[in-house]
């Protein structure tokens, strides 16, 4: 089926992105540890290293959002959802994607374009001296556009699957 293949293609993109970004969590732990050792053992504060942990952290949760949606790990208030039939759930998901998820993503993405473009234009670097150099800051801001796009795509996959469940009756 056509919609089935596009849904699973989207799922695969989200999973690959998410799993790749996930490795950054390990680096966050290691780098934080190194920062602490450098500070206490060698009395050296490396600002760019510290900033890189925050950078990785932001990339992790922003780029992981679509994968988290695919894995059903965005918390739901499931007092009623839990006991609904598969059809009912599909209806909730279908409406939720159309009314909440897609508009929200469109809005955040659309509003962020100028914000991101300005950062690239200004060749922004960290405000701290010894902080992260260009182009890491604009690159991080670009995630503000990438996240909504990826989540909207994954939402579209959820929409297709919900439609299938509803059509099957």
């Amino acid at each position: 089926m056509h919609s089935e293949t596009s849904a699973s293609l989207i799922d695969r993109i989200s999973a690959v992105t998410g799993k790749a970004a996930a490795w950054l969590t390990l680096f966050m732990v290691i780098v934080t540890f190194v920062v602490v050792v450098m500070r206490y053992a060698f009395d050296a504060g490396l600002i760019w290293l510290q900033e890189s942990v925050i950078w990785m952290h932001a990339v992790v949760f922003m780029l992981g959002a679509a994968y988290t949606l695919q894995q059903e790990d965005h918390v739901r208030v499931d007092v009623f959802y839990r006991s609904m039939s598969a059809r009912r759930r599909a209806l909730v998901d279908l409406l939720g994607v159309i009314i909440f998820l897609l508009p929200l993503c469109a809005f955040i993405g659309w509003k962020s374009v100028d914000f991101v473009a300005a950062s690239w234009r200004l060749r922004e670097a960290s405000r701290e001296s010894g902080g992260l150099p260009y182009p890491l800051i604009p690159l991080l801001k670009t995630v503000l556009v990438l996240m909504p796009v990826a989540v909207a795509l994954q939402g579209f996959s959820l929409l297709l699957r919900s439609l299938q469940t509803l059509r099957r009756g």
Binding site: T32, I54, A65, T68, D73, R76, F80, G96, F107
Partner: protein, 456 residues
């Protein structure tokens, strides 16, 4: 236009009940309200253009970097089966005492709490691990279920829980805002470390009260909590106890100690804790490439879940403020009879009820920013308020029939344990929680003493 803000709040709660993921429902509903407002001329569109900056602020929030690092540490400890080993060792150590198994569960809950701090996870793990054993050894299902639910929720209050990290961050902002409004231009600050220090005494007090209750049951109703007859060859060596207990204890004390002594920020301590957990898992031969990759993925998903709710909540609060909602809340709270005390009681009651539908993360990011500044401006101590909120919500999660912890346990309990039994078992613990809240209200020093000693 304050009635629109009130309507928005009610609409969000109702729509959340449909069950679509919280992050998107929060942001999506607020956006709809803003959209209609812009069309009808009652909402200033310019307010929304600050959104990218706010989201980028969340991405750059230094305090909250501690969240994924603590999650990483907790997930690693969980995957390395530290909890299982702790529970096994403690229960064989105390098992031959009347009530010993119950006490072991409480202590493991406390230790696990300190490492994971995510309620659902702890209740589920404890339920799977200890409920069958407790029932097999003749514990009444009520007592067993109550003990597990209550111990599982200790995770929120005992530092270093990630919930206290989030609450600390929100309180910092709220406290600054409150002081600016009062005209204090060199505001005092409150930190995550303050909250950790403030939570320590009340957390240990709760553990103490739980243990007292269990001992009381063991003494007065021995039938519901028999001692385990140790079989031959089942004795535990001192070495095994040491092996199971020492590493996680050292890890937790190192993490907490370095924060409380001011040697490290919570973020740094969390990073070191994560490293320690990795080494611990490695030394127990519990760390394969496969498992490491699972740990990173699990950390990413929990982290993404938390921060997307924060993004959704910030869209919500932008729109809620835009409609003058915070002024409305202030007017209501200030007009309450009984002044500060009345306002605190009402806020606590509302949060308790909201705790039936929303979990800790949502309440922290949505409700605390609205009511926090008002209460703090009325002179409430920020650390005390944070701890009261934490224990209040913990109580809410334990209260039948809606408490989250009870649902989680129901999900993993064998069918032979009836839901009514889980409810009945939780009730005495709800009583203990209310007692603790009362004590903290009467003697705020229980919270404020330690932070005062440490940070001056």
């Amino acid at each position: 236009m304050e009635w629109v803000a009130a309507l928005l709040f009610v609409a969000v709660i109702v729509l959340l009940l449909a069950g679509f993921p919280v992050a998107f429902t929060l942001g999506g509903t607020a956006l709809l309200f803003a959209g209609f407002g812009v069309l009808g001329g009652s909402f200033n569109e310019a307010l929304l253009s600050g959104l990218p900056n706010r989201v980028f602020g969340i991405m750059n929030n230094e305090t909250l970097v501690a969240v994924p690092l603590f999650v990483f540490m907790g997930v690693t400890l969980e995957r390395a089966r530290i909890a299982e080993e702790l529970l096994e060792t403690l229960s064989s150590l105390f098992g031959s005492l009347r009530g010993g198994l119950g006490i072991s569960v409480t202590l493991v809950g406390m230790l696990l709490a300190a490492s994971t701090g995510i309620v659902g996870a702890t209740v589920v793990t404890m339920g799977l691990l200890s409920l069958p054993t407790m029932i097999k050894r003749g514990y009444s299902p009520e007592v067993a279920a109550g003990t597990i639910c209550a111990s599982g929720t200790l995770g929120q209050i005992i530092p270093p829980s990630i919930i206290l990290v989030m609450l600390g961050d929100v309180m910092t902002t709220a406290y600054q805002q409150a002081q600016l409004e009062m005209g204090v231009y060199s505001p005092k600050t409150v930190s995550v470390g303050d909250l950790f220090a403030g939570a320590l005494v009340p957390g240990l007090m709760l553990v103490g009260l739980y243990v007292l209750y269990i001992l009381g049951i063991a003494f007065f109703r021995p039938g519901s909590m028999p001692a385990h007859q140790r079989e031959a060859g089942e004795t535990v060596s001192f070495l095994r106890v040491l092996q199971a207990l020492l590493p996680p204890l050292v890890l937790i004390f190192a993490v907490l100690g370095s924060i409380l002594k001011g040697l490290a920020t919570p973020t740094e301590a969390a990073g070191v804790g994560g490293m320690g957990a990795l080494l611990l898992a490695l030394s127990r031969r519990q760390l394969s490439f496969e498992r490491l990759s699972e740990i990173t993925q699990s950390t990413l998903r929990i982290s993404s879940m938390v921060f997307l709710i924060l993004i959704g909540a910030s869209v919500f609060s932008l729109v809620f403020r835009g409609y003058g909602g915070d002024d409305g809340v202030r007017a209501i709270l200030e007009a309450l009879p009984g002044g500060v005390i009345g306002a605190v009681i009402v806020v606590m009651l509302v949060m308790f009820l909201l705790g039936f539908v929303l979990d800790f993360i949502e309440i922290t990011f949505v409700v605390v920013p609205i009511v926090g500044p008002v209460l703090l401006a009325m002179g409430v101590d920020p650390v005390w308020l944070g701890i009261m909120i934490a224990i209040n919500l913990q109580t809410s999660f334990l209260t039948p029939p809606f408490g989250f912890a009870l649902f989680y346990l129901r999900g993993v309990a064998p069918p032979s344990v009836r839901t009514a039994q889980i409810y009945r078992g939780a009730v005495p613990f709800v009583g203990i929680q209310l007692l603790a809240l009362l004590l903290l209200a009467l003697f705020p020093e229980l919270v404020t003493w330690l932070p005062g000693r440490i940070y001056g």
